[in-house]
């Protein structure tokens, strides 16, 4: 993993079309401005994590087999 230090107002480019700028630093919070093409999906990490956890929970489907058996009776 690449780790870079940036100051307020400085930015990072990903390829030629995506620019990430540190727009504000206040205490333990950083505001980030992202300029990217519309076909780039931007998501907060915690939301993706929540979906990932929900998916992992959803593949545990042993209960469903019981449900189906019950339905057939």
């Amino acid at each position: 993993m690449l780790v870079l230090s940036r100051k307020k107002g400085e930015s990072i480019w990903l390829d030629d079309q995506t620019e990430i700028t540190i727009s504000e630093i206040k205490g333990d919070q950083v505001r980030i401005a992202i300029k990217a093409p519309k076909n780039i999906t931007i998501l907060r990490g915690e939301l993706r994590k929540e979906i990932s956890e929900s998916n992992t929970e959803a593949v545990k489907i042993d209960n469903f087999i019981d449900f189906l058996k019950h339905e057939k009776k």
């Binding site: 780039i40 931007i42 998501l43 998916n55 929970e57 019950h70």
Partner: protein
């Protein structure tokens, strides 16, 4: 081709039915190929089964069986990634998290599965700007879903 499913056991499917998730799904980034399997005797639920890992199978359903108010715009990245040309080529599914007893199960309205039936490409879209729950109780609408 033969598909192994933890729920249905060994089942036969056509290669032309394979759905490609280019980037997998959150939590399952390496599972790129799935197939939608019907459940005999059950019209409501289908299994979205990985063709490579029999233990990776999701129970899915039509979200509109559980809620009437479900509208969202597909973002440009999805339209592009799935080569969507027409709205009528799209199927929307919701993933069911099965709980015991079954009527306490939930569906994930925050991250529907979008399938382009024409290109056979699919993606789990996370609706960041829409206020839908990741765990929406199916209990109140279960009777309706049973039809």
């Amino acid at each position: 081709m033969k598909i192994q499913s933890i729920i249905l056991g060994e089942t036969e499917a056509s290669e032309s039915e394979i759905l490609t998730f280019d980037n997998g799904m959150p939590g399952f980034e390496n599972e790129k190929n799935f197939i939608l399997l019907p459940i005999e005797g059950n019209e409501v639920y289908q299994i979205l089964q990985s063709i490579n890992s029999k233990e990776v199978g999701f129970i899915t359903a039509n979200p509109y069986l559980f809620t009437d108010e479900y509208n969202f715009n597909l973002d440009e990245s999805t339209v592009e990634a799935l080569n969507i040309e027409s709205e009528k080529d799209i199927i929307v599914l919701t993933i069911v998290t099965v709980k015991e007893p079954f009527n306490t199960s939930t569906v994930n309205l925050k991250a529907p599965i979008i399938i382009n039936t024409k290109s056979r490409k699919a993606k789990q879209c996370i609706l960041e700007n829409a206020d839908y729950p990741i765990r929406y109780s199916i209990e109140t609408n279960l009777q309706k879903a049973k039809g």
